[in-house]
Amino acid sequence: MSVLIDGLLAILAIYLALQSLLAPRLIKSVFLFFAFGLALALAWVRLGAVDVAITEAAIASGFLGVLFLDALRDFSPAFPAKQKNPEAAHNVLVKNNTKSLLLSRIPLGLGLGLFLLIALEAVWKTPEGGGLTAAAEAFLPESGVEHPVTAVLLNFRAYDTWLEIGVILMGLLAIFAVGGIKVYRKPNMAAQDPMLRQVIMFFTPVLFLFGAFLLYFGKTGPGGAFQAAVLWGAIGILLHLGGKSIIEEIPRWLRQLILTVGILFFLVLGFLFVAGGNALFEYPRAYAGLLILIIETLAAISIAAALTAIFANLNQMKEDPNETESIN
């Protein structure tokens, strides 16, 4: 009976994924992609992966969604601006998009169809490996937290998580590499708007409090550093959209410290354990819970700052297309 929900959700997700690739207009693609994210989040919920659902909602739908929407300022002819050359070229292109996918790519389609059949058989016949539930359950009391997913992320597989914080920082550096070198771009002051200011005033504390709640709640239930970081990062993005910048007003060294404190603290702590004869990221059992909370808080601050800076850089890219070499 409850399988009905899953079947419907699955069909919906597949339909939305297909449509977001086939839709003739970019803006429709992006909106269907949001819808796809929501369908996926419901699927996570049905599979009992609430942490993943929050992450999906926060990063994959929320943050990435804002980036996609912002990118539409560059690309999309769907808004009623008078387009010059690109429009004609683009219209041809979008027309080709649907057709080329469906008709002129028959070999590709056949290949993918065959591949799909093999893939379906492979996932269907996957033997039961048993997973690591039992192992995680056995060691959970020693991990310092009560929520198994947080225990895996911050203790059992802390190394992956540490690298992942590094990946976000690297994503920011990579974006600097694309669009000239600046730590933080000034927001566009013309964007100030009274209505917006009201919304921002209302939502800043909400985002902050809810983020802090998720961070702290991660110890016992679904939540944690990444989800909290997106909510805190959303504050920075909101302020940037409203023409205000908190990061711009603090000195450079502090800015860099905020961006790097998460990965640095995590690593230096790990090195200290190594110096003490333990392995990297091997917390003393008695302090594990406290250390994990500190690491998560600092990581959330760093990630939030990095996400804000990523958005700000992408958002302001348009304003100075020729500036490539300003040195940080």
């Binding site: 492979a122 059992f156 600097f176």
Partner: protein, 511 residues
Amino acid sequence: MTDLPTSPFPAFLVGLPVLLATLSLFFRARGKAVVGLAGSLLTGVMALFALFEVTRRGTVIHILGGWEPPLGILLRMDPLAAVFIGMTAVVGIFISLYAWRYFRAQEATTGGFPLFWPLWLFLWAGLNGLFLSNDLFNLFVTLEVIGISAVALAVLSGKKTALVAGLRYLLVAITGSMAYLFGVALIYGSTGTLDLGLLGQVLEPGTTTTFALLVITLGLMIKMAGFPFHFWLPPAHSSALAPVSALLSALVVKGAFYILLRLWMEVFGVSLTYAAGQLIGLAGAIAVIWGSWQAFMQTSLKLIVAHSSVAQLGYLLMIFPLLILAPGVTADSADWLSPAWTAGVYQVIAHAFAKASFFLSAGIIIMALGHDRIESLRDLVGHMRITALAIAIAGVSLIGLPPSGGFMAKWMLLKGIFLSGQWWWAPVVLTGSLLTAGYVFMLLRLAFAPAREKEAFRPVPRSLEVCALVLALGSFLIVLPADNLIQFLQSGEVFGTGIESIMEGGAHGND
């Protein structure tokens, strides 16, 4: 496995470059370069110390967080990983020195690209992490670290061609990683573990394993520009800055090859089939011929070198058909196994040195001439003797003439080919060498030809030329410790079990 000696080196090999990369962000342009260079030297020296430690103590491990697999992640530095890390260190040190001088020389016009340093250190951390990793998912994360930093380095010049090539490279890299990750998901689902050592014991052949092998191999072939997926490599490698091109072709593409080698030898032994090996070998063979031919047809130096990478990576794919044992053959009687995979390792090292040197020389020529069209290489010898020498030496190693590292690689490959009786690969190796000789001698002929008209060669810092020459010489020097190196590689205990698992695979096929 966890009774192996532990060592803190693996943790520092990944942690130190990240620490220094992060610290360099606190400095401005020049400071970034200073910290970056110091960090590169420090990382390189430490990597060599780690290599020494492995030669002394054998395989060492580091159990991250104190959690043993399958729940935790294990870093394992066995001889194979140590050799790759050592190679990265040597090549990395010289490219760093070159980059320091190269960017300094252009600081006034370009700003000196300070972001090169943190990105390169992150890339180095990712490479070390990849070589050390013993966990399928962690390998994915390191692949992504490498992918993002490599693309960021590739687009550093900000030029249009670099950006377009970089975006294609990035999309291809993401696709490759995701394909790999799909295979990982299926393997986790069917075994409940991600640890390579454990997987080698518990993975059973079946539809799911075969499919996982397929997507993982495809994903990694996409990342290492194996034949039908080679299209992204020449534009991305040729449009980057010279030190970056050297890093990309010498080190980055080798990461995916390393995983593929490890997985085929240690994990998938049981489900490999003769046909799969032949297919991947065929892809390699086509890459060798096609890449060499394309290189021959190019008119700019960097494009020649980039297409030559496609061909040289093809040789790496050609060792895979030799790693598969026909039913009924045991690993003991298969005396071609060890020449085959040591040929792969030698090819990786020789290519890393030679190609790095080639790209660094191309950078010197671009610096001197302002472009790299090959007709302007006339009378290169008269103007830049050292660079011409570096190109000649590196070229000889690429062709595979004795006594170069390239020769060692091809000789052992041929040995493996004939011992295994798969003689049909031999003409490909020889044709590839012939074509390589074609474009290398074309370059050298130009370099020695007298100038028709006076080309304006701007003066270039001598230290740059020396870096290129040292790397070129390196591709010859690696032949000297060949016996020791091969012995060292084969002393890897875990790799030994890999061969055993292949043996079991043969037995399975026999049943």
